[in-house]
Subunit: 487 residues, 2 copies
């Protein structure tokens, strides 16, 4: 998979020389030899982006067990000019967690710092270390009858630290916000080796500048997050999951607004899918079935959650009845069991994998103001088709957040994969230009990492970019924290 | 009202000399003479904190009408070394909006920048200029069948810019968060005169560091917020408002947890009141009546909102029935009309004013983790009583956010107001020590301003304070933005 890399040539980054064997020994001594990985085969899983889009090389992989060990690592890095690449579950999609090819950097894998330090269902807080796997946090919340509402595909292996550092999104953002919205406090080891203990469990604290949000979404370039206070929520008692066939993205918007104002509950997800997404998922997974009897150009998969049994379903049915009448909805199926709910969601989750048999895919993770999603699709799809006739746009995603995974699969015939993928940057540029004109973002939920680093100067207001660079220089003047990522 | 100031002596701040008449003329020319206030009588309302806790003196009051005029003011301030004090509705409680007594500072009143630039009920966004009065934003949202969920006592005169700069709280934080949680984008004039146009209307944007949260809650010390993209929400169709008599703060916690997990809707407010708060409110307002028939040591005023008529009330009644059975609730009244709902809330809102006839009041705006509110009260009330026998603690507030307005009224007899208020700092220190031990905050929702500036070095982690100072130096190296506030 070299197609992405082709557009993002490796840029020289600090440090220019590898750490000496003596320095590596000193690093290893901090965590103990068992947790300092030097063997190339053992290191490999930490050096590769999981889809092999980036295959780097680390001088060493360290697995600290405590904040104190992270501090010692950071201090030694500062003393010896060694660059550090913080890593969680290594599930990121932009290469932020992958070391460069130089072999000069040390990967700091946080996976051994996986304790849940505290859980308090009265205050609705949970204190987790950075290496905690997201699913374990979900389960711990569940055990005390609370909800931790971050749900993403990689939840079985991604970590809280990675979720924080990339400001993870997922399918519940509509109701609960992004990862940064789910955090009350943070503990961060700063690039100078000091610990900022901001592990406050407070819903209100107006004693000066908010430092939390500097580190969240910074992809490890401003320090290493070691723990966080997360917010818990009451668990809904009823979930109504619907797969609806729609005439257009405009109809999806209208349906969404009706649900938000009239459903007896909270609209927690609203996913948009084009017919092609269903077709390829059905082809990919022989056990899958069409969730709705009627074939339509677009579909919505949505969920309404309520703190009460019964009312939500009745009200969703009423919204759907009106939507049938006015032509907003062509057909719809309400999940009648948890099993059916799961098949609905599997259909949505299969889309990315189901694209693979179609050949090359030129991907975009973009957002626009919610009301402009139809306009974005109206403009971007024809532009792509004009550039590559018969290309197959698979535009799906979190419509409720204005976030579309705008993926273009290669034509069924007439163009080789290589020739198609050679136009990656050209298509990216055209799509991103539309996104920017609509006031959107070229990275809605996956971050910048290495993948989109070169795009920032094109899409960011120069004032904003300058402020970002000044913040980086302020906190990490030696540029040793995840160099060459984001900025 | 000199009692607070006695503990917060004026600290020498920049600039050391007043702007010359020629410089003042240049500032006035930017906004036009009509909007450059020089007459002492006309300036006076902008120079005084509204309760006269701080009475400052401004060289000039400028009322810009546009971001461009703010830029021109800021550039001239940089060129001439003139300090600026941004001001919104002048309703703040910590003196952040008040110029110092030197007469060297220029107040920049944002009240003419009061346009609602855009409202989009599909994207659920509203773009407001900083000088917009909060209530106008609420009304504009209401007109398109949406909710802007920030509700605070001063909403008829406070401005969005002030709400942002102080990260306002209020009675709906439990469900919707603080002001910083209600913002998608910002426009800020930086101290160097550049404009950061971060007016994005996006729910998801992961393209680098989050700068918004630097400026929110910074009380005008890092730049001047000129506009914001605010989040709108669906309007609940049912609100159930209850006044309940309780045996203890522990019972209040138990009731709150039961409501959060069992009410068919969202618990949007949960306010705690001691009996004395009702007694003084009844004495203060002759039209007020006891909301609950039974006299109890504590009361809760709470509200459950739902997107559906009927279900919420039934479920709240069920929670209350169980609470009666297990002794968590002694008595309760559910508001049967909007008028009754208003009288419930008036009782809560009267508490501050109703304290005045009792004489001096030593105030604290503190927060602790929600589960620790009972322990805080158990510890802090006896400590105050031990220090000043017969003092009258009026501890009330937003229990759902762990935020207590812990006000101590002077004894009914035996101690003069002056002798009581002379112990302000001593009581503050004792209460804040308990707050800090419980992992709380000494300013939950009102901010730091001048009032608590001297306390920051005592309560803040030195690493955090150092980071705050470095951020201030980075953005405002000449210290011209609201000097002597926060830091």
């Amino acid at each position: 998979m070299g197609e992405r890399k082709a557009f993002h040539a490796y840029a020289g980054i600090r440090p220019a020389v590898p750490p000496s064997p003596g320095v590596l020994d000193r690093f290893a001594a901090i965590v103990g030899d068992r947790h300092a990985i030097r063997d190339p085969a053992d290191k490999a899983p930490y050096e590769r982006e999981w889809r092999d889009h980036y295959v780097g090389k680390a001088a060493l992989v360290l697995k600290p067990a405590s904040t104190a060990e992270v501090v010692a690592i950071v201090k030694l890095a500062g003393e010896t000019g060694t660059a550090l690449v913080p890593q969680g579950g290594n599930t990121g999609l932009t290469g932020a967690q992958t070391p460069h090819e130089t072999g000069h950097e040390i990967v700091v894998s946080m996976t051994r710092m996986d304790r849940i330090r505290d859980i308090d269902p009265v205050s609705n807080t949970l204190v987790a270390e950075a290496g905690c796997v997201l699913q374990r946090v979900q389960e711990a919340a569940d055990e005390v009858d609370r909800l931790f509402p971050m749900f993403i595909g990689s939840q079985g292996s991604c970590t809280i630290g990675g979720n924080l550092s990339t400001n993870a999104g997922g399918i519940n953002v509509l109701a609960y916000g992004n990862m940064r919205d789910l955090v009350l406090g943070l503990e961060v080891v700063l690039p100078d080796g000091r610990v900022w203990n901001g592990l406050r469990r407070l819903k209100k604290d107006n004693t000066g500048y908010d430092l939390r949000h500097l580190f969240m979404g910074a992809e490890g370039t401003l320090g290493i997050v070691t723990a966080a206070v997360l917010k818990l929520y009451p668990r809904p008692l009823e979930q109504v999951t619907v797969f609806a066939a729609l005439p257009s993205p405009d109809a999806a918007l209208a349906l969404m607004a009706a649900l938000q104002t009239r459903a007896a509950g909270t609209l927690t997800s609203f996913e948009l899918l084009p017919r092609i997404a269903l077709d390829i998922s059905l082809a990919f997974d022989s056990t899958a079935r069409d969730p709705v009897a009627t074939v339509a150009p677009w579909y919505a998969l949505f969920e309404v959650a309520a703190m009460h049994e019964g009312a939500a379903r009745t009200s969703v049915e009423a919204v759907l009845a009106d939507a049938f009448d006015d032509g907003t909805v062509i057909d719809a199926t309400i999940a009648d069991s948890q099993a059916q709910r799961n098949t609905f969601w599997r259909m949505r989750e299969t889309v990315s994998d189901a694209q693979k048999p179609l050949g090359g895919s030129i991907k975009h993770d973009v957002s626009v103001p919610v009301a402009l999603v139809p306009r974005f699709l109206d403009e971007a799809i024809p532009v792509c088709r004009a550039m590559i006739p018969d290309c197959r746009p698979v535009a799906f995603g979190h419509m409720g957040d204005g976030n579309i995974h705008f993926n273009i699969s290669q034509p069924a015939q007439g163009l080789s994969r290589d020739d198609f993928m050679a136009r990656y940057g050209e298509i990216n540029d055209a799509v991103h230009a539309i996104v920017m004109r609509l006031g959107g973002s070229i990275s809605a939920e996956h971050g910048i990492g290495r993948l989109k680093r070169h795009l920032l100067p094109e899409v960011k207001d120069p004032v904003e970019l300058d402020l970002m660079r000044k913040l980086k220089a302020l906190l990490d003047p030696d540029g040793l924290f995840n160099p060459g990522k984001v900025l």
